[in-house]
């Protein structure tokens, strides 16, 4: 009986864990994206820019920026699904 409930719990995450999960996702995404960007930057620096450091940093920046944007979007839409503008309009009505 308990096993089945735990399974149920596992299947459907508890509401209090929602934010934490999102944070996990975001961080992982950020890490992956920034590493990818760094990798591209290093390759470019090796191939085109005679092993300069700045292309690698630029790549990291691009990757991190991309991850951040995605995270932001996720957090913004998740709470009530209602943006500020829409909320205001609803209040007026």
């Amino acid at each position: 009986m308990t096993a089945s409930t735990t399974q149920l719990v596992k299947r459907k995450p508890e509401s209090e864990g929602l934010l934490n999960e999102k944070w996990d996702h975001c961080l992982a995404n950020l890490l992956v994206k920034s590493t990818l960007g760094a990798g591209f930057g290093i390759i470019f620096s090796v191939l085109l820019f005679r092993r300069r450091a700045w292309p690698a940093w630029v790549g990291v920046g691009f990757g991190a920026g991309r991850g951040y944007a995605e995270c932001d979007r996720e957090f913004k839409g998740a709470a009530g699904g209602v943006s500020r503008a829409v909320g205001e309009r609803l209040k007026r009505d």
Partner: protein
């Protein structure tokens, strides 16, 4: 000649190759010339050229002949087989060889006189076929010289006597002989037979005749079967007028011959009167003649015995009874009359006397026979009558016997019938008696029933009359008893209701124990079902159960302690998101998380609508055990905080629902138990 012939042959071979042809022509010409030379040489040397020459000569017949006449004769000669093939030219060629090997130089001499040479060969060829000569080897050799000798001997001409006659005779003889030979051979050989009958005039007839003769000799009776010779038997001629006819007899003398040419009804309708008259007269004549004849017969018959002669007495006809004898006597009498008429009746006296005596004897004999016959007839008659009488008697006896028998049988049958009818009648009587008895019994029963009813009515009447007495008291007693039973039933109802209430209480307790037990979550579906069953058709209970979320009793609800435990976790999370602005991004979240750590904690029932104060209030309520209020506080949250607390709220609500429903049901049960005491 050579020039003309050669191109033709060349053209035949191949018309297209001109150059080759011309060359070939040239070559061929040369060859021919050489051959001619050779031929000439051969002719001179008289050596027979073999088949090559012969073939060549056949290939184009005319060219080689021209140079000199000797050449064709010599080459054709050598093949012995060629003799079999029929050709006049070859025939000639053989001749010079066989009689004498005359040098070829001599032959040219004979040829200039061609008339004989040409005329003579054609004659023997059709008449004398070469196979015949070959087969009749012995006869052939002497024959050829005769026609051939003529050309040979022609040039000599020493004697002219009977030359033509000899020739004709020889020819005839030869043809006859060859024909005979041909016929003979055709009888032997089928092939030759065909040839002979086909090409030789009169050959078929001759051969046929011989064949026929042979056939007749071998099978003398063969043809008799095919056509049997006519048998010489006397002819039987049936005259035309024989047999019976419908025609009225007409004497042959006046045979009526109708003249068609005469004027009559068949020509025109006029002048028929004459015809009629004529015909009528003819008929009259015939009739009169017939009648006349009859009259004559009639007259003569009585006449004859009435004219007795003087000399010879007529036969007395009185005692003659037999008609045959009478006729005979008549005949004799007529003869006697004739004799009497004649000159010398005495001559026949003796004869007539004997005749008379014979006649009388005959008469007497016939009479005796008749008597004998009559006697036998009478005897037979008697016999038959007796036999008939015996038979009749027998028949009568039989009839009487049968009659007796039948009568007896009839009597028996009648008796039997009577008996059977009597039996039937008896049974019928019995049955009718039974039926009548039954009816009577029924009637009796009916009467008995009627009497019983009457009696009962009387008794009832009496009982009614006595009811006011003892029976009235009894009625009172029964009424008491009825009241008692009613009371008892009412009490049983109350007892039942009590029992039900009790059961409900028990079931309720079971449900409460199930959802309040510390081993949660645990479904209490069975307990609830039992409660529903016990509550039967209580509207309130049913409504209360329906208000519970199915999830609650399917999965169970968490206990208050579990809720408090979970609230601690939830409150931490909610606090993290407590400072979030609306529509916050990553930065907002991060800020809220960081800043939430440094917030001061409140205590007790804090005032304010912010997240922190709500959480504090909830916590306090929970500590007090007021889940209902705690849930109400949590419900005030909004945004991310509400989202995070959603699950906890749901759980709390489930528990609250169940608690409410159970409370309602408990109240109801209590009400019921209270209601029981009323009646």
């Amino acid at each position: 000649m050579l020039r003309f012939s050669s191109p033709a042959s060349a053209r035949v071979i191949s018309p297209s190759r001109r150059s080759i042809v011309s060359r070939h022509q040239h070559h061929w010409l040369k060859l021919q010339q050489t051959q001619h030379q050779q031929q000439r040489f051969l002719a001179n040397t008289k050596i027979p050229r073999p088949s090559t020459k012969a073939e060549w000569s056949i290939g184009d017949a005319s060219p080689p002949v021209l140079p000199d006449r000797a050449s064709p004769a010599t080459p054709a000669k050598p093949p012995a087989a060629a003799a079999s093939s029929v050709s006049p030219a070859l025939k000639i060629t053989t001749i010079p060889i066989t009689p004498s090997s005359t040098p070829p130089t001599q032959i040219p001499l004979t040829t200039p006189s061609p008339t004989k040479a040409q005329t003579s060969p054609p004659i023997p060829t059709p008449k004398v076929p070469p196979p015949a000569t070959a087969s009749t080897g012995s006869s052939a050799p002497p024959l050829p010289p005769s026609p051939v000798s003529s050309p040979v001997t022609l040039p000599k001409q020493p004697k002219k006597t009977h030359r033509f006659r000899n020739f004709v005779v020889g020819l005839a003889f030869l043809t006859g002989l060859s024909f005979a030979g041909g016929v003979f051979y055709s009888l032997k050989s089928d092939n030759f037979h065909d040839f002979f009958t086909e090409y030789i005039p009169f050959g078929e007839e001759a051969v046929l005749y011989f064949e026929e003769r042979e056939f007749r000799r071998r099978f003398p009776n063969a043809l008799s079967r095919v056509a049997p010779p006519p048998i010489d038997s006397p002819k039987v001629v049936i005259p035309k007028a024989s047999g019976a006819t419908w025609k009225v007899f007409e004497p042959a003398g006046d045979k009526k011959v109708t003249d068609v040419g005469k004027h009559g009804p068949h020509i025109s309708s006029r002048g028929t009167v004459e015809q009629e008259k004529e015909r009528a007269s003819a008929i009259d004549a015939s009739v009169s003649s017939g009648i006349g004849a009859a009259k004559v017969g009639v007259v003569e018959k009585p006449g004859k015995p009435k004219t007795p002669t003087v000399q010879i007495a007529l036969i007395d006809m009185k005692d003659v009874e037999d008609p045959v004898v009478r006729d005979l006597a008549k005949v004799v009498n007529s003869i006697i009359a004739l004799v009497n008429k004649s000159e010398s009746p005495n001559v026949f006296d003796s004869v007539i006397a004997t005749a008379k005596s014979e006649l009388s004897h005959l008469n007497s004999q016939i009479a005796s026979i008749k008597q004998g016959l009559e006697r036998t007839v009478k005897e037979k008659d008697l016999e038959f009558t007796t036999a008939a009488q015996g038979l009749l008697k027998n028949v009568d006896n039989e009839i009487t016997n049968i009659e007796h028998k039948w009568r007896e049988e009839f009597e028996n049958e009648r008796d039997k019938m009577a008996q059977s009818y009597r039996e039937k009648l008896h049974t019928e009587l019995q049955r009718s008696g039974e039926v009548a008895e039954h009816r009577l019994r029924n009637e009796l029963l009916e009467q008995a029933i009627a009497m019983k009813k009457k009696w009962i009515r009387e008794i009832e009447g009496r009982v009614e009359s006595e009811r006011n007495g003892r029976l009235g008291k009894l009625k009172e007693l029964s009424g008491f008893i009825e009241e008692l039973t009613k009371l008892s039933t009412a009490w049983t109802d109350i007892l039942d209701a009590n029992l039900k209430a009790q059961q409900m209480h028990v079931a309720l307790e079971a449900v409460r124990a199930a959802y309040e037990s510390p081993e949660q979550p645990k479904p209490f579906l069975r307990e609830l079902a039992a409660l529903k069953e016990v509550a039967d058709d209580d509207e309130v209970v049913r409504a209360a159960i329906a208000s519970i979320n199915p999830l609650a009793y399917q999965k169970g609800v968490s206990t208050p302690t579990q809720l408090i435990d979970r609230f601690r976790r939830v409150s931490d999370e909610v606090r993290k998101a407590s400072l979030l602005p609306e529509d916050a991004g990553v930065a907002g979240h991060a800020a809220s998380w960081v800043l939430s750590k440094v917030l001061f904690r409140k205590k007790g029932l804090a005032q304010g609508d912010d997240v922190e104060s709500i959480l504090t209030r909830t916590e306090t309520y929970l500590e007090e055990g007021d889940i209902d209020n705690a849930a109400r506080e949590m419900n005030q949250l909004s945004g991310w905080a509400r989202v995070l607390a959603k699950d906890w709220l749901k759980e709390a609500r489930l528990l609250l629902e169940v608690q409410q429903a159970v409370g309602v049901i408990a109240a109801e049960a209590r009400l019921q138990s209270l209601r029981v005491h009323k009646p």
